[in-house]
């Protein structure tokens, strides 16, 4: 019996680890993704003043601080029973879409994208931003860096800080948009649309026009038939900021649609002793172990899941791309994990179009951005779609708004069971008769990378390669081979 350990991989907060156990013939007996860290936010939120939650919880993740900040802020609206003025909601949603565009872009060009743009088994020193520069040219990369910088500047204008913003308060936002800020937001939104179109063209030219890639995306090694979850608006279109949570079954039929206030009726969590992460599952189906299919309560979130759980996109260009997506992939739902990347680019187009819709609406310039809470707080539950999926914050307080209990269903957690399945299946499908090389290991990594699990660092890395060391031991625990990636 041999064991292959991939350690560390980078992930949400700290390191992740993949352990692959081989049988005598060198085939995979089991591959496991472990999460080795806990910080205890839910516990130490207790005793804090509720209005501080958007700032405290943004420290769960410095890569997606806006997602936690916004889910917490919406939970506060609910907690204090106060509806924000329209302009405040629009400013929040605008800033949120800026963040989604920026975050998705980085994943596409720096983290996940290189696997396709440069190639899944390309030389390891090329499979990163350096390779992208060679493939697409320095100007393209410059465009990505400059656009990212501009988008991050908008986040600072609106949120004070880019990482760990301060704008969210129950009943509104801390400040309105000034005329100067509005102009910068408008100009950058225009550029954002061009940028998203450019990203889609890159996807189309490089990935979708390559039959081998399309075949890889559709291959069984990266396929899991699970339930899918995402926020939808009144027309069942994708929405990142607000709406109802919709779940479809592996055949694409609506399984549930609910207000986040009722999430406890639908979501439960399973605990395993070999990892610090809790595994969410659909309560109505139940935890059946690490298996996919309709009988298993395992579900998925994030771009592909959002598209599967909806009927379309609410903006015109994105909706055309949505239709094309399902046409090429052969109907709904799509179970191919690698299609997450494609769905992500469609969402970039939506985020940019939505930014423009919001910033063009004169209402967003209103100075009326706060309603002060008047009701006694008790329970508040809020939801947004983080780049990496449905994110729920739930607080219970005393009558002064001091937190007594908190529960957080974090985006990546919703995908954690499916990610364990994906890593196992990819390893089983790709590693045969003991043949392991860097390209194959990268393809195992692609199985979880597609989810863009909130690798706090990897998402924003230069050159964007996952740090990887694989050690292969023989049955006497002697190191027989080491594969390193620089």
């Amino acid at each position: 019996m041999r064991e292959v350990v991939i350690d560390p991989i980078t992930r949400l907060e700290g390191h992740g680890k993949i352990v692959i156990k081989l049988d005598e013939n060198g085939n995979v007996q089991k591959a496991i993704l472990q999460v080795p860290e806990l910080r205890g936010f839910e516990k130490f939120l207790v005793g804090r003043t509720a209005e501080d939650a958007p700032q405290i919880t943004s420290r769960i993740c410095g890569v997606c601080p806006w997602a936690h900040h916004m889910a917490a802020t919406k939970a506060l609206d609910d907690l204090f029973k106060v509806e924000p003025p329209l302009a405040a909601k629009m400013i929040r949603e605008f800033a949120y879409n800026v963040f989604m565009l920026e975050d998705h872009a980085l994943h596409f060009f720096v983290l996940g994208g290189p696997d396709f743009i440069v190639g899944p088994t390309a030389a390891k020193e090329e499979r990163n931003l350096v390779g992208i520069i060679k493939k697409l040219g320095a100007d393209v990369v410059k465009n990505v860096i400059i656009t990212r910088k501009k988008l991050r500047y908008l986040e600072q204008l609106i949120g004070g800080k880019i990482t760990h913003p301060v704008l969210g308060l129950p009943g509104g936002v801390a400040k309105p948009l000034s005329d100067e800020d509005w102009k910068i937001c408008f100009d950058t939104s225009k550029e954002g649309i061009e940028f998203a179109k450019f990203a889609y063209k890159a996807l189309k030219d490089i990935v979708l026009s390559n039959d081998q890639y399309v075949e890889l995306i559709k291959s069984d090694a990266y396929t899991h038939k699970t339930y899918y979850m995402g926020l939808v608006d009144d027309n069942n279109n994708v929405n990142f900021y607000d709406g109802k949570i919709r779940v479809v079954d592996p055949e694409g039929r609506e399984f549930a649609k609910f207000d986040v206030r009722n999430y406890l009726d639908h979501i439960a969590e399973h605990v395993e002793p070999w990892t610090y992460v809790r595994f969410t599952y659909l309560k109505g189906v139940g935890w059946k172990g690490f298996v996919d299919g309709k009988e298993s309560g395992i579900y998925s979130v994030a771009p592909l899941a959002r598209l599967n759980a909806s009927n379309g996109m609410a903006t015109p260009m994105a909706n055309e791309l949505y239709k094309e997506f399902y046409q090429v992939m052969g109907g709904k739902p799509i179970h191919s994990t690698l299609a997450f990347h494609w769905a992500r680019v469609i969402e970039m187009v939506y985020a940019a179009e939505r930014m423009m819709e919001l910033i063009e609406n004169p209402e967003i310039r209103s100075k009326d951005v706060r309603n002060l809470p008047k009701e006694r707080p008790d329970v508040g539950i809020g939801v947004v779609e983080a780049p990496r999926g449905t994110l729920i914050h739930h607080y219970e307080t005393d009558e002064r708004g001091i937190i007594k209990r908190a529960n957080l269903i974090v985006a990546t957690q919703n995908n954690s069971a499916r990610m364990v399945l994906s890593v196992d299946k990819a390893a089983r499908s790709l590693i045969k008769n003991g043949k392991i090389d860097d390209g194959i290991l990268n393809m195992v990594e692609m199985a979880f990378r597609a989810y863009d699990p909130c690798h706090a660092c990897a998402t924003h890395s230069l050159p964007g390669s996952m740090p990887l060391i694989v050690r292969i031991y023989d049955s006497d625990d002697n190191l027989i081979k080491e594969i390193r990636r620089d």
Partner: protein, 323 residues
């Protein structure tokens, strides 16, 4: 002359510090010009054995963020200390424990019990918990241990310099890195950033009176703040007077008070106590009953208000397991 060797490492952090480093943008290329990055888990291959193989003292500077929460963090920073000439604590978590150190007010047992048994969505009648050694389908697996407390970096290893902030700004990051690389070393123990309180760089400083006197206190959600007037004069607690400057007052420009992430000014060891004493001194309520009533109605959270980022430094708050 050989290029300097720089290592970046992260412990219990959120990734915001890595964002700040990536936000160096064009300066990142200057850094690569001036130094070899020998370790940076976000960007390059990393292996503990590689660091172990390096001669002691061969890394010029190790820049470490995050607090020490897991056994793995403790082992790694001790190793890095041995291999490095200089160690820099980067960001509030490494500097003072940061927000995750608020967990120190709770026992390890209560954190585990809540996370894996009591949280409303958890279904775990068997009472399973993550274990340092466990097996899954016949595969033996290991996890790093969750330590009793989250500690700042200098409680585990000697620290030469500090870069404050949650996260630090790219400007201060670059100031510190370029100062170290050019060999213009500040005195040991130096904290980068301003050596004066945030008030001195606050755009509202002109409206701050010589003497502040508060008849009442308001929580940020209870008031629409006037963006042109010192928040303290509006009755909202702003940590500006007891917090190191250098961030360019970003939160204030977002129309919210400072929450203290840059830590105390020079000469103050514990920001939480300094803040408590400062705010006690400006509250203009002599009558004890009135004061008690205010505290009761307000719902005062001294840890969250005054020690949000520095609780890791305050050993008195460390809750021990009840035996």
């Amino acid at each position: 002359m050989p290029k300097a060797k720089v290592a970046f490492y992260w412990c219990a952090s959120c990734g915001g510090c890595e964002e700040a480093q990536v936000d160096l943008a064009d300066k990142l290329f200057d850094l690569v010009e001036a130094a070899d990055i020998v370790l940076w888990p976000v960007a390059m291959d990393f292996k503990r054995e590689d660091v172990e193989r390096m001669p002691d003292g061969s890394i010029d500077v190790a820049i470490i963020n995050g607090g020490i929460r897991m056994s793995e963090h403790e082992e790694m920073v001790k190793l890095l200390r041995r291999k490095s000439k200089l160690v820099v604590a980067y960001g509030s978590c490494a500097h003072m424990g940061g927000i995750p150190a608020l967990a120190n007010a709770y026992t390890k047992e209560s954190i585990f019990k809540y996370a894996y048994e009591e949280a409303p969505t958890v279904n775990n009648p068997e009472g399973r918990r993550p274990e340092v050694r466990a097996s899954f389908d016949g595969v033996e697996l290991e996890l790093p241990a969750f330590l009793d407390y989250l500690k700042p970096l200098d409680e585990v290893v000697e620290v030469d310099y500090y870069i404050p902030g949650c996260p630090p700004t790219p400007e201060i990051t670059w100031e510190a890195i370029s100062s170290i690389l050019s060999g213009k070393l500040p005195p040991k123990g130096h904290v980068f950033g301003s050596d004066r309180a945030l008030c001195y760089e606050c755009p509202l400083n002109e409206t701050k009176p010589e003497k502040i006197s508060l008849d009442t206190i308001k929580r940020p959600h209870q008031i629409v703040l006037d963006p042109n007037k010192c928040y303290l004069t509006q009755g909202v607690l702003c940590m500006g007077p007891v917090t190191r400057g250098g961030c360019k007052a970003l939160c204030i420009k977002g129309n919210m008070p400072c929450t203290g992430c840059f830590g105390p000014v020079d000469g103050v060891s514990y920001q939480g106590a300094k803040a408590l004493s400062f705010f006690s001194s400006i509250i203009n309520i002599d009558d004890e009953n009135t004061f008690r009533k205010l505290v009761e109605e307000l719902g005062v959270d001294p840890l969250g208000w005054f020690a949000k980022y520095c609780l890791g430094k305050g050993t008195i708050y460390r809750k021990k397991e009840e035996r």
